[in-house]
């Protein structure tokens, strides 16, 4: 079985090295034109209000992308992604006030520090089943809200927290010198977002992507195939935290002033809702989710409609997505609707999992658990 698998892997790799086929070229060209339009057309066409909104969309598309990787590729659910975003924003703001480092360096550092924090949170839960991770991240979101309320976001003060409650003139968080105006910063955010999308693409097309797909399909089967499931789950969690941390850094510059009330616990669950509605199997889903999350409220705000209607809509959306499972929108795998790059490997693993699962579980569950309570 092992030899068979590795043969298939090399075959996959060979096909992927070939020149992209015509439909793929068309796809790439379409995306390029679209991105150029977003980068150069939007700042010309939109009012300042909507340019700011679209900057937020770019920021949150990174967050929903990260959450989409967790949910769609690995089958992990995080209910605390906004808390992770807050960590990234906090670290970036602190670094931007304390140092004169160039902005991209700060973004990178914010991403890496957030990654370490995310790994520390995820580590205990990732050894266990998905429900535990969902719960612990929800509690984490609640805990971070508490910490932020006490610590506050840096506002140019001194010391570790960088917060000085008695400051009268709070300096804004700086932006990169090449992108100090709103339209320029919008372009800057979009470019950072594109880089993050490419980073995810590089993962999903290679070994980690295949390992994640196998884990999502069946963890015991992936374990049996020799995949270090804890390592790859941790990897996915680290990647998601990194991207979210970078997004936090971009957010810090976008808004200039950060407040702890801007990252409430409920936003984390709303974020999961929009990510599921947008679709977790395609990267376009992340963009759709970010539009739902940031653009729709801005639009409704402009029309004077309460954002609460949107919350209700997102709740209904989650239920609809999960119960009727439209193609590519739900957590569970619809093989026909979404053949990911590793589908053949996955099929093999599933088949193998069906054969091995009873044997494996008899191996891991020596004492019959007491189920009387």
């Amino acid at each position: 079985m092992g030899a068979d698998l590795s043969l298939r892997n090399t075959a996959d790799r060979r096909t992927s090295r070939r020149r992209p086929a015509r439909p793929q070229l068309i796809k790439i060209a379409t995306i390029t034109v679209l991105l150029l339009f977003v980068l150069f057309g939007f700042p010309q066409l939109l009012s300042l209000y909507y340019i700011d909104t679209m900057t937020q969309v770019a920021v949150y598309s990174m967050v929903t992308l990260a959450l989409g990787v967790l949910v769609g590729w690995v089958g992990l659910v995080s209910l605390g992604q906004v808390a992770v975003l807050a960590i990234g924003a906090w670290v970036a703001a602190r670094l931007l006030f304390a140092t004169t480092q160039p902005y991209p360096v700060v973004l990178l550092e914010a991403g890496l520090i957030t990654m370490v924090a995310g790994v520390l949170i995820g580590l205990p839960a990732l050894r266990l089943r998905g429900l535990y991770l969902a719960l612990i991240t929800l509690m984490f979101a609640g805990a971070i809200t508490v910490v932020l309320a006490t610590l506050n976001f840096p506002n140019g003060g001194h010391g570790f927290t960088g917060y000085n409650g008695s400051l009268v003139h709070i300096p804004p968080i700086r932006r990169p010198s090449i992108a100090s105006s709103d339209p320029a910063y919008f372009r800057y955010s979009v470019i950072v977002a594109i880089l993050m999308f490419l980073l995810v693409l590089a993962h999903t097309k290679t070994k980690p992507g295949r390992a994640w797909a196998a884990i999502r399909q069946s963890e015991p089967a992936a374990l049996a195939a020799g995949i270090n499931t804890t390592l790859y789950k941790l990897w996915a969690f680290a990647l998601a935290s990194f991207i979210t941390g970078v997004a936090g850094g971009v957010l810090a510059g976008a808004v200039h002033y950060l407040y702890s009330i801007g990252f409430p616990t409920q936003d984390s669950i709303t974020l999961l809702a929009v990510t599921l509605m947008g679709g977790v199997y395609s990267m376009w889903g992340a963009v759709v989710a970010a539009l739902l999350y940031q653009f729709l409220p801005a639009l409704l705000n402009n029309w004077g409609v309460s954002a609460d209607w949107l919350t209700i809509l997102f709740g209904l959306g989650v239920l609809q997505v999960l119960t009727t499972a439209p193609a590519g929108l739900a957590i569970e795998i619809v093989e026909e609707a979404h053949p990911p790059p590793a589908s053949r490997l996955q099929n093999n693993l599933t088949r193998m999992g069906h054969c091995l699962a009873p044997w494996l579980s008899s191996l891991v569950s020596c004492p019959k658990p007491n189920t009387s309570s």
Partner: protein, 297 residues
């Protein structure tokens, strides 16, 4: 470091809080064991009930009616959700079922924010008549609400334990926790048993909402996310034992309140559930969890 007498009042309030967390936790565990659903909307339905009760009270309804309405609203929403979405999601992964209840949470949350808007700065409160009476143990003042809260936690934990062990319905719920399909084959009306579990959980959510609205605050956000404390207790009990849930809930409530007089930690006391649950996860062996997942597969 504060002296012992500073801690004394917080022992009572902590035990009361722990009692409510315990009864919420027991409701969550029983529903999870019977239906496989971890009901994340538990706090939200309680909040909905409490806010409805508040509105009725403002309109001049007598106290006992508002309490009944609070419990009835929570129970009705929970039962409706269970009957509508329970069967549709019955065969899905527990994670999917839990995430679906987030949909309900968001709907309720949006509704509550629309109907009882918080932006006006209007502070609402729900007080039970049991707040006024009480007694003192040594130097500590204890009011009846706190007694009721801890008492409800104890009584419901013991009661649920007995119910699961000795009644026909309880036996059916335990059977379904083991294997839904086989239980159905043996002639147990699984949907009716599930509906009973939903209803019971909803009643508990209503009681918890009423007590927490009095003990903590009548606020949609606070009440919705207080479920996190009960979830921590449930997680420490590995989603199965109601006895461990009870003990963990009491410890969480007690520790949370005992941190209040300590100046350096008082701001961080709301992190108690997260810290305890994370510590519990670290010592939880992987093999047991894998065995559990086989059972649920």
């Amino acid at each position: 470091m504060p002296s012992w007498s500073d801690f004394e009042p917080f022992i009572v309030s902590g035990l009361a809080l722990g009692g409510v967390y315990a009864l919420s936790g027991v409701g969550l565990v029983v529903l999870y064991r019977a239906t496989g659903v971890l009901y994340l909307a538990f706090g939200a339905v309680g909040a909905m009930g409490a806010l409805t009760a508040w509105s009725l009270g403002q309109a001049g309804a007598p106290g006992w009616l508002t309490w009944l309405v609070c419990i009835a609203v929570a129970a009705a929403i929970t039962l409706a959700y269970g009957v509508l979405f329970g069967p549709a999601l019955a065969k899905r992964d527990p994670l999917v079922k839990a995430v679906a209840t987030i949909g309900l949470t968001l709907i309720l949350y949006g509704l509550m924010d629309l109907l009882w808007t918080t932006s006006g700065g209007e502070a609402r409160s729900l007080t039970l008549p049991s707040d006024n009476g009480g007694f003192s143990v040594g130097q500590i003042q204890v009011n009846w609400t706190q007694v009721i809260a801890l008492g409800a936690g104890v009584v419901l934990t013991v009661g649920t334990g007995l119910f699961l062990r000795f009644t026909k319905l309880g036996t059916a719920m335990r059977a379904m926790a083991n294997d839904r399909e086989i239980t159905a084959t043996l002639g147990v009306p699984v949907r009716r048993v599930e509906a009973a579990a939903w209803l019971g959980c909803g009643v508990l959510a209503g009681i918890a909402g009423l007590l927490l609205a009095d003990l903590v605050a009548l606020d949609a956000t606070t009440l919705t996310f207080l479920v996190i404390s009960s979830l921590a207790a449930v997680l420490i009990a590995r989603l199965r034992s109601i006895t461990i849930t009870f003990v963990a809930a009491i410890v969480i409530g007690l520790l949370h309140d005992l941190l209040t007089p300590i100046t350096s930690l008082t701001n961080y006391r709301d992190m108690t559930p997260f810290v305890l649950a994370a510590a519990a996860l670290l010592v939880m062996p992987r093999s047991q969890v894998m065995a559990q997942s086989r059972e649920e597969a």
